[in-house]
Symmetry: C2
Subunit: 177 residues, 2 copies
């Protein structure tokens, strides 16, 4: 499974591409950041984010896109830009027919470090270890995007099993009704 | 000046197109709502909003797009969908090189009713009167989108004068420096 992770933001939008399956060593295919100028018009910034994400999708052809789930309770000053950038990421994926998965920051931290309250350094250290890199990817947004992709690869089998169980349950109910 | 107003939302995204200049009677060119199913995937909903807005832009070729400015302080449950739909509207406009203007709900209410705290019914009544319609546009999102476009047409001259004054001031400073 090849997953493109997006840590959404207008100033820095982290992108990380990871390939692999749960229970096997993972491979990093690419990591980077799409940046837009803070003093540019908001519409132009969104166009720049769109263009950047499209280039990553073209270059790596992932099967899934995992995006950080944005909460409105967080930092009120930055949450709007985060929500807008995440909307562009989800739009780009859905336009190509790619499934979009959302994971919360604590789900991602718990997946890669074992603790939902791990700090940036811990996440960076585990991403470095799990992908066998020489050093933690910089900036933190890039490491977070890789962590999102890893989280998705590891959670997907459990989510699929759950969906199959729910579907089987409904099918059984349908037959006995 | 032809302005397309957008009252952003995922379930109902209001669209209204108004033509005119400040101080002269205004003309409504179109009004409607782009709807998406609440049970659809978020990415697919954003694609549907994008397609709907593109159709309105193609049909009416506005010179400007006015979008309601979203505040994260408002209703926490719906603000994310609003922010995401507004991102799509701004993206569609900027991709075509159209200027995007943001107005707050109270600026819009104050522009069309004289009070920043007017209710939906008052806004609907004034939109009906100002555009010489037979009845208030339904749903309220459609009326709000028209109110946004009207607000922009009326505020634009003052904003342009202010921008020219600031530019002139800087030019003078530049010469005397």
């Amino acid at each position: 499974m090849r997953v493109l992770g997006v840590d959404p933001g207008l100033t820095r939008c982290g992108i990380g591409v990871v390939e692999g399956v749960a229970g096997r060593p993972l491979t990093m295919l690419g990591v980077g950041v799409v940046r837009t100028a803070a003093d540019a018009e908001i519409g132009d910034r969104l166009v720049a984010v769109e263009r950047g994400i499209e280039e990553w999708l073209d270059a790596h052809r992932p099967e899934m896109v995992a995006v950080e789930r944005v909460f409105s309770q967080h930092n009120v000053r930055t949450v709007m830009g985060t929500a807008q950038a995440s909307a562009v990421a989800m739009l780009c994926a859905a336009r190509r027919g790619l499934p979009v998965a959302l994971h919360t920051p604590s789900e991602v931290k718990a997946a890669v470090t074992g603790s939902g309250r791990a700090d940036k350094a811990q996440v960076g250290a585990m991403v470095t270890r799990l992908l066998r890199l020489d050093a933690p990817p910089k900036p933190a947004d890039a490491a977070d995007a890789l962590a999102l992709a890893i989280c998705h690869i590891w959670r997907a089998p459990a989510q699929n099993r759950l969906q199959r169980a729910v579907a089987a349950h409904h099918a059984t109910k349908g037959r006995t009704a």
